[in-house]
């Protein structure tokens, strides 16, 4: 079942491998960057970029559905609620 992957729809395996490894490295670096960024608004932006990286990774993992969710949630909705929280919190810190 798996071996019969010779349809015109599959991507050359070597290319896929290289792509996936590259994105995986970027994702690992992204996660590290998110954790190490201590300035709050910057961190949210880094998180947003991390969300996009994850979305690309999921695309490379042949999961367009999860890609779409990760884009909407991880790269848009979560950063928005985080920014709103930070806005609220910062106002009172002045």
């Amino acid at each position: 079942m798996i071996a019969a992957a010779h349809t015109p729809y599959t991507v050359p395996i070597g290319f896929m491998d290289a792509l996936q490894v590259t994105i995986l490295i970027l994702v690992a670096a992204g996660a590290t960057a998110v954790v190490l960024t201590r300035r709050h608004v910057h961190q949210v932006l880094v998180l947003s970029v991390y969300g996009i990286l994850l979305a690309v990774l999921f695309l490379a993992f042949q999961a367009p559905d999860v890609t779409l969710s990760e884009l909407t949630v991880g790269a848009v909705a979560l950063p928005i609620i985080l920014l709103l929280t930070l806005a609220k919190v910062r106002k009172r810190e002045e």
Partner: protein
């Protein structure tokens, strides 16, 4: 390549945990928790991947084309929703904590509480 994605999974988990443990700001801590959870997406999709297979949609490819596992993708979707829900709730806690305590440092929160 065989196990590289799983090494990345462990790395993300550990980095996230390290962030949660060392964080001095609740919002930062919550973001690190998001990172911890993101390791589970990569793991889920990683274990369900089939080399050379297509995405599990038969809209424009013939049925029975080898595809990657759709189940882990469904689980990852559920996981994303859980993440959004938990994060929203935690952030609302953080806002209230800031109102009550005037700070978001977990260490100060604990000492101010009494």
């Amino acid at each position: 390549m065989e196990y590289f994605p799983f090494v990345v999974v462990v790395w993300i988990l550990c980095v996230g945990l390290y962030g949660v443990v060392t964080s001095r700001h609740l919002v930062h801590q919550i973001i690190c928790l998001i990172v911890v959870q993101s390791s589970t997406y990569v793991l889920l999709l990683g274990v369900g991947y089939v080399t050379g297979a297509v995405a599990p949609y038969y809209f424009d490819v013939p049925v029975h084309t080898p595809a990657v596992d759709p189940v882990v993708q469904a689980l990852a979707l559920t996981d994303v929703v859980v993440e959004a829900a938990v994060t929203a709730l935690l952030l609302s806690f953080a806002i209230q904590a800031h109102k009550r305590f005037g700070t978001l440092d977990p260490q100060e929160l604990a000492s101010l509480k009494g």
